[in-house]
Amino acid sequence: MTQSTKSFIVLGILAALLLTPFILPQTAYADKLTDAIAKTPVGTGKGQIDPKAAPGYLGIPGGPNVNHIVAFLWAVWVGWIFSTVGAFGGIMAGVGHISIYGLGSYAGSFRETSPVLNKVVTDSVRVSNQFLVGMSALISSINYYKMGRLVVPLGIALAIGSMGGSYLVPLLTAGKVSFKAYQGYFGLFVLLLGCWMLYETTPTGAAKKKAAKAAADAFEKVMKEKKAGANVDTRDLGVKIVEFSVSRVRFTFYGVEFNFNPLFPVLGGFVIAAVASFIGVGGGFLLVPFLTSVSGLPMYLSAGTSAFAVLIGMITSIFSYIQQGTIVHWSLIGLEMAGIVVGSIVGPYTSKYLPDKALKVLFIILAFVVGINYVTKSFFGFAILGR
């Protein structure tokens, strides 16, 4: 971060905080959760709330008390995945909230008796998922900016789309999505991811990767033999914009021509952020390959740029949910974050004993089991594993 950016942020926040003495704290007399509890039938049966019962999840009387040890251990598993596989971490965090901690069946018990409470718990799970992934990605993203690897116009285009998607999804869906529907879409997303992972292991899917590796190896060999860089044409250095219109940006990068449609990053940012916000995942693993394939930019530029877009999208989404009264179980998130840290530390020490291929197979199986289970349960009314 440059000194001027830093000063700008500091002054901006100071100004915002200095204005606060002019406003007064007020008491909100009702909130979403209190309203939802009030609308739920009183009693000790399924889908009812017994006001005398001990408070559980989110302080709801009789709500499930998430076992701290189980939550921590599950988070260690999530952290382990982050450090060994990557993309699947957010998904596994979601599976934890839905199935392992029992929040899915708890929310589901209010489907008939109190749809409002059902949706309040659903929103809490969605934002918890995203918070967990977002908070973890935040520091690594910020550090990446420090390296100054950001294509500003592209970053802005992505961020506009990303903010749109992240703002609109909570705005349009907070308090409106039942747990059943959320679980179904979550399952569908996991299933699609599983299909993609499976495709990558097929000869056709692996061929592209193999070809890329072979080409990279061949080029590396040539470079070593020829002493790379000896023939750099200094007339075409850097990025030169050849053509710029609403639908097409054509540029040369060291004399090599590339082109992309500038609407794609906005659209891509929007779609990816909307999906990420709805499901409650990061979206970074979708943005980096998207940006590289759309613009053809080198990794060190596209990665920083997409990290920026993910961050903006994530912050917008989380604020949007919280501002609309979504309640988050912060202590549980804290405990899970501690587990993620432990898992991330343990991961590198254990991953050397597990071959890449075995890991891939494990995650394909997991993706299919979770995906099919959630989809069938939500859309067809039966579940393979029960939860």
Partner: protein, 203 residues
């Protein structure tokens, strides 16, 4: 009373003390939240430092792979070999993906105390909202104390940064990204290709 509850009561007494110093409730809230942000920031420095030092070699390995592939792609572009550039760039992206997610888990270490602070804030100031002078569609004209905390936390993190190196002076602070060894391959950027040629021994 179990040990967790005892800890919570002690923590509550300690944290609320800062909120009660000035008589003005708004000023008290700002001071208390600033103190809370500072404690959270300092604890975060230590947890992040511990996590980073424990995984140093693994991160270095992933970083090396990423930089190596990226540099190769930069060399390909320098000699106008688009096909090699595309392949190397794809490989660099794959490597970066692994590197980025390895850090994602560790990134949580720096922010570890934040959700606990938010949990305490939510419990303590559950019914408090702040009115803002403008209206955001569907959200309204109020913000929660959580927003004030997050703004204050960002501010304190930036302002307190110079203190970090002093506090962690016993050893060189381990940043997940800043660390670099003398013989480590340097990541080539656009400017490296301008004027100076890529290092053929880079990979």
């Amino acid at each position: 009373m179990d040990i967790l509850n005892m800890f919570y009561f002690w923590l509550d007494a300690f944290l609320i003390f800062w909120y009660r110093i000035p008589d003005n409730p708004m000023l008290g809230f700002l001071l208390g939240t600033a103190a809370l942000s500072f404690f959270v920031t300092v604890i975060g420095w230590y947890t992040a430092d511990a996590a980073a030092s424990l995984t140093k070699s693994h991160l270095q390995k992933l970083k090396k792979e990423t930089v190596s592939m990226h540099n190769l792609s930069m060399k390909a572009i320098a000699v106008k070999d688009k096909a090699s550039y595309t392949s190397c760039n794809k490989m660099a992206n794959d490597a970066f993906g692994r590197y980025f997610f390895a850090q994602t888990g560790l990134g949580a270490a720096a922010l570890l105390p934040v959700p606990f602070a938010l949990g305490w804030l939510q419990e303590r100031f559950y019914e408090v909202v702040f009115f803002i002078p403008f209206r955001i569609p569907k959200i309204g004209n109020t913000v929660t104390p959580i927003l004030v905390f997050i703004l204050m936390y960002i501010l304190i993190r930036i302002l307190a940064h110079p203190l970090r190196n002093r506090l962690l002076s016993a050893q060189k602070p381990s940043s997940l990204f800043d660390r670099s060894d003398a013989d480590e391959e340097k990541m080539l950027s656009l400017s490296d290709l301008v004027g100076s040629k890529p290092d053929p021994k880079g990979t």
